[in-house]
C-alpha cells in the first residue's frame, strides 16, 4: 500500500472513533500494520486467528470503545462462527477492514479461494460491504461502515482492492 492509502485508512478509523484494532497481518496490508502499531491513539492487539479477533472486537464494543478487525479476506472465513453468533444471536457488531485477495488480476493460485468466497460469505451472513478500489473513497467508506453498524448493531465490512493494495 502507498503511504497515502495507509494514511487514509487511519484517518477513517479515527474519524469513526476507533481506538482498538485487532489484526492478523497479511501481505497486501503490509505497510498498514506497523503504521497502526506506531499510532499513539490506537491500541493494536495481535491475534492468533481472525475469529478470536472478532470476539475481542465484540468485547470492546461492550465497553463503549470502538474497535476494528483488520485482516486479509481469508480471515472472514475463520471468523464466520463468532460473527454469526455475536451478530445474529446477540446483536453485537464487528466492523471489518479486509484486503481483497483473489479478485481479477490475482496472480497467486492460493489466493483464488479468498476471492471466490469473500462476497458469498458476506452475503450469507447478510453483512453489507463496500469494495473500495480508489484511494479517495477509503476514509469515507470506513466512516460509513461505522455509522451503519452503530445504527443496525450488526457487522459491516470494507474490502480494499485494486490499485489501493497493489
Amino acid at each position: 500500500m502507498k503511504k497515502t492509502a495507509v494514511d487514509a485508512v487511519i484517518r477513517g478509523l479515527k474519524r469513526a472513533g476507533v481506538s482498538v484494532v485487532c489484526y492478523l497481518p497479511d501481505s497486501l496490508f503490509k505497510e498498514l500494520y506497523p503504521a497502526l502499531d506506531a499510532d499513539p491513539d490506537i491500541r493494536t492487539i495481535r491475534v492468533t486467528n481472525e475469529g478470536e479477533g472478532a470476539a475481542i472486537c465484540g468485547g470492546v464494543f461492550l465497553s463503549g470503545k470502538r474497535a476494528a478487525l483488520v485482516m486479509e479476506n481469508s480471515g472472514l472465513r475463520a471468523s464466520v462462527e463468532p460473527l454469526a453468533r455475536m451478530g445474529l444471536g446477540a446483536g453485537i457488531p464487528v466492523i471489518m477492514l479486509m484486503s481483497y485477495r483473489g479478485e481479477l488480476g490475482e496472480n497467486n493460485w492460493w489466493a483464488i479461494p479468498h476471492g471466490i468466497t469473500m462476497e458469498p460469505v458476506l452475503n450469507a451472513l447478510r453483512i453489507p460491504y463496500d469494495v473500495v478500489r480508489e484511494e479517495k473513497r477509503i476514509e469515507q467508506a470506513i466512516v460509513n461502515a461505522y455509522e451503519w453498524s452503530y445504527s443496525a448493531y450488526y457487522h459491516s465490512a470494507v474490502a480494499l482492492g485494486g490499485e489501493v493494495v497493489r
Binding site: 482498538v20 491500541r43 492487539i45 495481535r46 491475534v47 492468533t48 486467528n49 475469529g51 478470536e52 479477533g53 470476539a55 475481542i56 472486537c57 465484540g58 468485547g59 470492546v60 464494543f61 461492550l62 465497553s63 463503549g64 470503545k65 474497535a67 462462527e81 463468532p82 453468533r85 455475536m86 444471536g89 446477540a90 446483536g91 453485537i92 452503530y150 445504527s151 448493531y153
Partner: protein, 202 residues
C-alpha cells in the same frame, strides 16, 4: 467439587465486576448463584468466544475488573486466546474455566480433558499466563478467586468440577439479544458512557 458451590463462593466476592459467561447449564446456575450480578453478567452462547470477549471488555475498560466464566470445551475450541493473554498481559482479567471433562449440555460426551492427559492450566502457563492453576477443592478454588480478583496480571483457575447440574433451579428466560441490552445499559450506567445511543432523528 460442584460447580454451583464454586459459583456461590465466587459470587460472594463480586460487587462491581463485569462477568462474561459461557454456554450450557452453567448459565442457569450462575443466574441463581449470583442474583446480584444478573445485570452485570453477559449470558452468551458462544463456544470459543467467551474469554476473547472478556479480554476485549477488559481492554476497553482497563479500570474495571472483568471475570470470564469459560469452560473446558469453550477454551479447547480456541486455545489461541491463551497466547494472546500471555502477550497482552491484561491487568484486570480473571478467568475461570469450569472443567467438567464433558460436553454436559448435550448429554455428557467427553471433552479432551477427560483423558487425564490434557491440562488446560499447563497449556495456559506454556502460553505465557504464569498465574494459571488447577483447583480440585472448594477451598482451593475460593483462594484462587481471592488472588485472581486482586491480581494485576492475567489469572486463570481451572476448576475441576463434577459433571452434574444443580437441580430444580429457576431457568433464565431472556435470549442473547435481551441479555446484551441489559448488560450494555448496566455498563453505560456504571461507567458513565454511551454505547447504544439515540438515532439522529426520532
Amino acid at each position: 467439587m460442584k460447580r454451583y458451590d464454586c459459583m456461590k463462593a465466587l459470587a460472594a466476592r463480586l460487587k462491581d465486576e463485569l462477568v462474561i459467561l459461557s454456554l450450557g447449564a452453567s448459565v442457569d446456575e450462575w443466574y441463581n448463584a449470583a442474583p446480584h450480578m444478573r445485570e452485570a453478567s453477559l449470558f452468551q452462547q458462544q463456544l470459543g468466544c467467551v474469554t476473547p470477549e472478556a479480554f476485549g471488555l477488559a481492554a476497553g475498560l482497563p479500570n474495571r475488573r472483568i471475570v470470564s466464566l469459560d469452560t473446558d470445551g469453550g477454551m479447547m475450541f480456541n486455545l489461541g486466546i491463551l497466547a494472546t493473554l500471555g502477550n497482552e498481559q491484561p491487568k484486570n482479567l480473571f478467568v475461570v474455566v469450569w472443567d467438567n471433562e464433558c460436553y454436559q449440555s448435550i448429554g455428557g460426551p467427553p471433552t479432551h480433558t477427560a483423558s487425564g492427559r490434557v491440562d488446560i492450566a499447563a497449556i495456559a502457563r506454556g502460553a505465557g499466563v504464569d498465574n494459571a492453576f488447577t483447583a480440585h477443592t472448594l477451598e482451593e478454588f475460593d483462594a484462587h478467586c481471592a488472588a485472581g480478583l486482586a491480581a494485576d496480571v492475567p489469572y486463570i483457575v481451572v476448576a475441576k468440577v463434577a459433571g452434574t447440574v444443580e437441580p430444580d433451579i429457576r431457568r433464565k428466560h431472556s435470549d442473547g439479544r435481551e441479555d446484551k441490552y441489559i448488560f450494555v445499559r448496566h455498563v453505560e450506567e456504571t461507567e458513565g458512557v454511551v454505547i447504544m445511543g439515540p438515532s439522529e432523528h426520532n
